[in-house]
């Protein structure tokens, strides 16, 4: 089930129009532009709501994505590397978002740190092909996952807070 908050976030992300995957040459460029527009709008929304929680960028082909996402717990910011490939079956199938740094640290992950999504994600995605894009996958998939998993991992001591200076070394 999608909670009210997620539903509201989702509804303010622009929908995409072009059904095209990485093998579709020019149409893929059109789709990629729509992806970026939706992502930019979503990040803007997040900033306005004081809930900025990720950055993403892609390679030139738009098939390899990488960035960072973070989660605030007890006033401390926990940051994770995020990466995923766009499969050739996209957008019929959703991207498999991965947090490689957490691979092996939680059971709610598949190999390579791919996050385990709820039963509701795939049906919802399938019903919204091609209108849902990467921004929707973030809002519907990774956002709720972090909210459930990270506090739990912190409590278990699996995820530890790292000082900013330490990261920058």
């Amino acid at each position: 089930m999608v909670d009210e908050g997620t539903r509201k976030t989702l509804s303010s992300i622009p929908l995409l129009k072009t059904k095209a995957g990485p093998r579709d040459k020019e149409l893929w460029t059109t789709r990629l532009k729509e992806e970026y527009q939706a992502l930019i709008k979503y990040v803007q929304n997040n900033k306005e709501a004081d809930n900025d929680w990720f950055r993403l960028e892609s390679d030139k082909t738009g098939t390899k994505w990488f960035g960072k996402c973070w989660y605030i717990h007890n006033l401390l910011k926990y940051e994770f590397d995020l990466e995923f490939d766009i499969p050739i079956t996209y957008p019929t199938t959703a991207p498999e978002l991965a947090l490689p740094g957490l691979d092996g640290k939680t059971a709610k992950m598949y190999r390579g740190g791919k996050i385990c999504l709820t039963d509701h994600f795939k049906p919802l995605w399938a019903r919204n092909v091609p209108r849902f894009g990467i921004a929707h996958a973030m809002a519907l998939g990774l956002g709720p996952w972090l909210a459930v998993e990270i506090p739990d991992l912190i409590e278990k001591g699996v995820v530890k807070y790292q000082e900013k200076s330490e990261e920058a070394k």
Binding site: K17, K33, E34, P87, I88, T89, T92, K122, P123, R127
Partner: protein
């Protein structure tokens, strides 16, 4: 005091033991040119060739000319590959990008000492030792990425012993993306394949035979699931992604290879869909027609080609064999997942009792679920400018 010769012998003996313990020396049998039906202890094919004498298969040795691609060498794929190897298949092509882990040891085939090796390499070594007559090719990559997908297609279309298309592709993968990628490839290449799967709760599974244009492809309908007779609400998914049992996986691999052998060697009836519910020991079978509105354009092309073909007599009998009592009322157990989902798709799919679609897709796909954000307007900016804007946020 032992003589030098005695010590020398002792050293040789210990060296051989050490090598065997380290797995350096695998006693390999010699390759066999022609399958013999002679019943002697030393003939690995005698019991298979006996199938001919008993009138089950009339051309068993043909298996030596056949090539099968096994995509995914996990709980189902590894057992599938072993069965085909023991049956004396001509060539196996294995695909997987995963490594063997100790967490895999609740399944068959792989052994603890193989942990850390790539699944394809570990599998190839074991299989080659079991049967050196099989030609084994391995690919250690993810088939769903743009770079690898074309390599995958090429290896299927030129992978046979005579550099032609393989005789059959077996999908033993564990995710929707990879199944869709195989479906895309096989529709484009007009390649027959079997889909197989075990549910994440480990108590149901299925196999499905896909002949592009003739039977439903994987994109023709939402994924089919065998009703597990568990109230979904009582199913605890918190905490883990997937459970697995060697039993369910072994059974599904058995179904998969049994039907592959029937198809490859032309005996018995090949099931178009065979389900398995472990909790009730229930095995539904059915035939599935392709969806004329399938999202995959190559599926629709293959359907048109199939319709244009003159109907062969033996095809007609093959299809009727599978005709089971089919419910034409609408009771195929639509499981509503989202509480405010719009009107449901008219079922063009007649499913046998006990099999249902994993979810439904609304008929009118043009109306968005719920959005106040509207659709993206065509941007004046170029892709590079948008990328830059995103980067500078």
């Amino acid at each position: 005091m032992a003589s030098v010769e005695e010590l020398q012998r002792k050293v040789n003996e210990l060296e051989a033991k050490l090598a065997a313990a380290q797995g350096n020396v695998v006693p390999m049998r010699q390759k066999i040119d022609v399958m013999s039906s002679e019943v002697v202890d030393s003939n690995p094919y005698s019991r298979l060739m006996a199938l001919k004498r008993m009138g089950i298969v009339n051309n068993y040795e043909k298996i030596r000319e056949l090539s099968v691609a096994v995509v995914g060498v996990g709980g189902v794929g590894s057992v599938t590959a072993e069965m085909l190897t023991r049956c004396g298949i001509g060539k196996l092509i294995l695909y997987d990008y995963d490594k063997v882990e100790l967490a895999n040891m609740n399944r068959l085939f792989f052994q603890p000492h193989q942990a850390g090796l790539s699944k394809v390499d570990a599998a190839a070594a074991t299989l080659q030792a079991i049967n050196p007559d099989v030609s084994i090719e391995t690919y250690n990559y993810n088939i769903t990425t743009i770079d690898n997908f074309q390599k995958f297609c090429d290896s299927i279309s030129k992978g046979s012993l005579t550099d032609g298309p393989v005789d059959l592709v077996l999908s033993c993968v564990d995710n929707f993306e990879a199944r869709m990628a195989i479906n895309t490839a096989c529709n484009e290449l007009n390649q027959r394949w079997f889909e197989s799967g075990v549910s994440e709760n480990a108590v149901s599974g299925h196999i499905q035979f896909i002949i592009p244009g003739e039977t439903a492809c994987f994109a023709c309908a939402p994924p089919l699931v065998v009703a597990s007779k568990i109230d979904e609400k009582t199913l605890k998914r918190e905490g883990v992604c997937a459970a697995s049992l060697p039993t369910t996986m072994g059974i599904v691999a058995g179904f998969l290879v049994q039907n592959s052998l029937k198809f490859l060697l032309g005996f018995g009836n090949v099931s178009h869909y065979l389900g398995y519910s472990a909790l009730t020991d229930f095995f539904p079978t059915m035939s599935l027609k392709p969806n004329p509105q399938c999202e995959d354009s190559y599926c629709r092309t293959r359907q048109a080609e199939f319709k244009a073909k003159p109907v062969a007599v033996e095809l007609a009998t093959e299809v009727t064999e599978d005709a089971k009592p089919i419910h034409d009322d609408n009771e195929w157990g639509i499981s509503l997942v989202d509480e405010n989902s719009p009107e449901e798709e008219t079922p063009t799919l007649s499913l046998v009792d006990g099999v249902q679609v994993a979810y439904s897709i609304p008929v009118d796909n043009s109306t968005p679920e719920s959005s106040t954000g509207g659709a993206v307007a065509a941007s004046e900016l170029s892709l590079e400018e948008l990328m830059q804007q995103m980067k500078s946020m």
